[in-house]
Amino acid sequence: MSRLRSNQAGIKAVLLLLVLGGLAPYLFMIITSGKTNQQFERSFWAPDLPFHLENYATAWNQIRPYLLNSVQVAVISIVITAVIASVSGFVLSRYRFPGRRLLYGLVLVLMAVPGITNLIPLFVMMRDFNLLNTYVVLVIPYATGGIVLGTILMRNFIDAIPQSIYDAARVDGAGAIRMYTHVTLPLSFPALGSISLITLTTVWNDFFWPLLVISDDRMRTVSVGLQYFQGQNAISYGPLMAGYLLASVPLVVVFVLLSKYFLAGVQGGLAGSQ
């Protein structure tokens, strides 16, 4: 019995070590974000008082436009994705019409298309449409990708809703639209949550697309904006790290509050691509 307990303690110790290894860069970021350059040189590792909160104000002023851009692009993409994916998932799941299987097959094939290799052709197309440096050009690939994955997730999810609920609604006189708004939507809330989170993380993390299509600094999103921010603050470490932290906050907060949906989303993406 005592051997078992020491075993468990050893496992905890190893796991804690792994946790520490994984979190070390972020802890370093938090510690450094409150330091002046003098403090940073005096004590490289340890937290040092006083904690300079004004670093955050400096950083916030510089990265606020990037954050707002990312938020706007994310919200637009999420709304478009959620609406279209839920309607098409509902239709594919609940209606019988010729070509339904083929259509779903076509959506599944799209999952296998590697998005990033489309960068160049898509860029040329957007340039020809004169859409560079607009929100539209940022939203298009996220919405398209989100709709493909979202349709698959929604269809699978709606498939699992018992048909008897729909039959009951029909007996009560509900039409197609009412069945969508009053039955499908409320019941598929978890799936919609996952789809929204996937879209949010995609928008927040995507790098090459905004790098290529946006040249106007006022239009830059977080991922690319941070690189420019880094260039401007390369030698003032406190504000630099504070900026990194501020840029992470939205995703981390969402992750902490909704980690269940977050993980379901990541693994749902896995299931969808099988």
Binding site: Q8, I11, K12, V14, L15, L16, L18, V19, G22, P25, Y26, I84, A85, V87, S88, V91, L92, Y95, L103, L106, V107, L110, A112, V113, P114, I116, T117, N118, L119, I120, P121, L122, V124, M125, P141, T144, I147, V148, A176, F207, F208, L212, S223, L226, Q227, Q230, L240, Y244, A247, S248, L251, V252, V254, V256, F262, L263, V266, Q267, L270, S273
Partner: protein, 279 residues
């Protein structure tokens, strides 16, 4: 009307992907010249060699998430299990660009953490310009994200192992199978299906690698860390060889799709056999 909504996503995305072969407006027809040029492009070939290294390294690093997942399911306390799982995946919540930039800060030759540590333990001779020297740049890129736990492999291992009924572990223990033997003869075979899916995703993901390299080294120094994606982008946007870049991205697209198809077919056949061979 309903059909319109259902068709739209498929059609719009197909519309986008159909532009694979269109190198831009007002271009002259050059036939296969771009492809001939590609075959003689030493950097292009080098970029695939780098991809190979990246891929193999990725597979080797599965050791860490696998270890973490095995340890996690061995924990008795539910509360510890939950807390540890959450902490292990927290790095996933940070934006990729933040992670890359912090690591870039670590690699800084003067104020970076690595050189500071080496100085502190008296190994100044091992200090180097991590991302700036062709010898260490690639390995520096690969180490970003150490210990590689906050990611899809960990989630797959953990959920896979968690779904194995405890009775099987108990039976294995009764049969005198040690922890190591259990890993090879019980755990891994039972999650083989998930491992194959994961392998598929890693293959496809490797072809899309480039973001960390762009942030930290931009493919340099001297193309030491170039990958196909970066080379394609630099051909288009730096060298303005749009036609050539379109050819490169078409090849990258086809290769990725071919790999996906091969693995998907292979998987189907194997699962078919496994079903037939089951008791």
């Amino acid at each position: 009307m309903v059909g319109l909504f259902a068709y739209y996503p498929a059609l719009s995305a197909f519309f986008h992907s159909a532009f694979e072969w269109n190198p831009g407006s007002g271009s002259t027809f050059v036939g296969a010249d771009n492809y001939r040029q590609m075959l003689q492009d030493a950097v292009w070939w080098h970029s695939f060699r780098n991809l190979g290294v990246i891929f193999v390294f990725n597979l080797v690093t599965w050791i860490f998430p696998l270890l973490a997942a095995e340890l996690l399911i061995t924990l008795k306390s539910r509360r510890w299990q939950f807390a540890m799982r959450t902490l292990l995946i927290v790095p996933m919540a940070f934006p990729g660009v933040v992670t890359a930039l912090i690591w870039g800060f670590f690699y800084d030759p003067n104020t970076g953490v690595f050189n500071q540590v080496l100085a502190a333990i008296g190994l100044e001779s091992l200090q180097q310009n991590w991302t700036g020297s062709p010898n260490s740049a690639l390995i520096s890129l690969l180490l970003v994200g150490f210990p590689f736990i906050g990611g899809l492999p960990f989630l797959v291992f953990y959920s896979g192992l968690n779904n194995i009924p405890r009775e099987i572990f108990e039976a294995a223990a009764l049969d005198g199978l040690g922890r190591w033997g259990r890993l090879w003869r019980v755990d891994l075979p039972l999650i083989a299906g998930q491992l194959r899916v994961l392998l598929f995703l890693v293959v496809v993901g490797t072809f899309q690698y480039g973001f960390v390299a762009y942030v930290l080294t931009q493919g340099g120094p001297d193309n030491a860390t170039v990958v196909p994606l970066l080379w394609t982008i630099s051909q288009a946007f730096t060298a303005a060889n749009w036609g050539y870049a379109a050819a490169l991205s078409a090849v990258l697209f086809t290769v990725t799709l071919a790999f996906s198809a091969v693995i998907a077919l292979h998987r189907r056949r194997e699962t078919g056999m496994a079903d037939g061979g089951r008791m």
